[in-house]
Amino acid sequence: MTRYVMSIDLRRCVGCQTCTAACKHANATPPGIQWRRVLDLETGEFPNVSRTFLPMACMHCANPPCEEVCPTKATTKRADGLVAIDYDLCIGCANCVMACPYDARSIVHAAHYAYDDAAMPSEAARFDPARVAVSMKCSFCKDRIDEASVTGRIPGIHPEVTPACVNSCISGAMEFGDIEDPESNVSRLLDETQHYRMHEELGTEPGVYYIWDKS
């Protein structure tokens, strides 16, 4: 079995938002919609203050609440652990948006462009009408993952078959790979560090691990 997961080393993230930009570039999301976002969290009181950058996106849960509530089977959990959406089945009921505790999903009910109502040539070229009025979210760049099975390359090792955010990270905070493979980069990294998954108590079994200290 394969289960692709992502690890994010919070010690390394500098909040540069390069992954956010890379995601928008790779997936051509409309204005205001970020499948990947990096939150800037300030905690404590002066002089004992701390600043943490928290990259967030779809957690590709092993027990995805979005898949459970979806009335159309548009949201499915794949055998490799990715949670995918079939835009042609989705009715845009937003039940999955309500079910996701990670605020990872969004629905845009009409086409939006960066400037006024007219699309720039670059926007027009990549505009996908199938994504209007349906649920959308981070796909872990599933087209790239699918290509891995054709080319024999390894997600997380070869950039061509690795999510855009992971490729773009300037500090090496993000890793991607098969957690079922004990020799994968992700498995080895998680063995060496202390980590947690967000809102684990909800039973979603998220596929994104946040590293916060060495073992």
């Binding site: 010690r11 205001g32 609440p65 989705c90 039940n95 916060w212």
Partner: protein, 302 residues
């Protein structure tokens, strides 16, 4: 152009959901009351005319709610896809109950056959229950996913249904009877109990501060207008107050209106997202990990 972007800081705390608006709320508001009205109609033993009136009202309420939802979904012409996931989706189950309810309800409306009225009542109860489960299945909204929201939604639906039945009885000169009115008081008491139990559960288990603030602010008005006043009106009728029909009608309206306001509050105003939580802040250099962070929550619950 409408501003769509948000600052990162805006995304930290739980925020009111904006994807389900009044149209989605209307489905829970009207559908729950309609389903419950069908149930009580099956048990009321009214004349065929009053039974038909109550069934028509129940079906209209459910139909109105579903129509509102149809206008809300992004791809309404694909709406039939909603039937594809009966294995786990309560929305699919709600749609399946509705698909059986309307033809059977139509037959009951035409014939007023007692056994059909009973079947429609059972389907109405099933519809009410599926709606309660739809809300509770949404793990992203802490005030909905709390297990006590199910009993709250069912009990308020039952109270609204009996409220409507009292109104129908008042308008059609049907007798509810002493035991029926005592039952209505009991249903009001049950709703008040489950409401307080739900609020207590949220406080004990944790919920976003914004949601608790909304619900706490609503608590007093809900108990007064939806519980105390209707009980006073029904008791006044029981002890022989004049103009009983009008007083009972007002009591029924209060029971319904309070439940609808509560559901509107729950589905829209108190529906805050989960937000984020960090069990540990990262250790940088030779420092130590900071305390856990959960913006927008003061409770320790999930």
């Amino acid at each position: 152009m409408k501003k769509l972007t948000k600052k990162s800081a805006d995304l930290l705390s739980p925020k009111q959901q904006r994807n389900w608006d009044w149209r989605a709320a209307a489905n829970f508001i009207a559908g729950g009351a309609g389903g419950s009205l069908l149930l009580w109609t099956a048990l009321a033993g009214f004349s065929s005319g009053a039974t038909r009136m109550a069934i028509l009202l129940g079906l209209m309420l459910i139909g109105a709610g579903l129509t509102c939802v149809w206008f809300e979904i992004g791809r309404p012409w694909r709406a039939l896809n909603v039937y594809k996931h009966v294995a786990t989706s309560w929305m699919t189950r709600e749609a399946m109950v509705a698909a059986v309810l309307f033809p059977v309800g139509g037959l009951a409306l035409l014939t007023a056959a007692p056994w059909l009225v009973v079947v429609v009542g059972a389907l109405g109860a099933a519809f009410l229950y599926t709606q309660a489960r739809i809300l509770a299945a949404n793990k992203g909204i802490p005030t909905w996913r709390h297990p006590r929201s199910i009993s709250l939604m069912v009990s308020t639906g039952l109270a609204e249904g009996i409220g409507f039945l009292i109104c129908v009885a008042s308008l059609s000169s049907q007798m509810i009877g002493t035991w029926g009115l005592v039952g209505a008081i009991a249903l009001i008491a049950v709703r008040a109990y489950f409401w307080k139990s739900y609020l207590g559960g949220l406080h004990a288990d944790g919920a976003p501060d914004g949601a608790l603030s909304v619900l706490n602010g609503f608590d007093g008005r809900f108990l007064m207008f939806g519980h105390v006043l209707p009980v006073v009106a029904i008791v006044a009728t029981l002890v022989g107050m004049p103009a009983q029909s009008g007083v009972l009608f007002v009591a029924g309206i209060l029971m319904v209106a309070a439940g609808w306001t509560m559901k509107f509050t729950l589905v829209l105003r108190a529906a805050f997202t989960q937000g984020l939580a960090l069990r540990h802040l990262p250790v940088r250099g030779c420092g130590v990990a900071g305390a856990a962070a959960k913006p927008g929550w003061t409770m320790t619950g999930t």
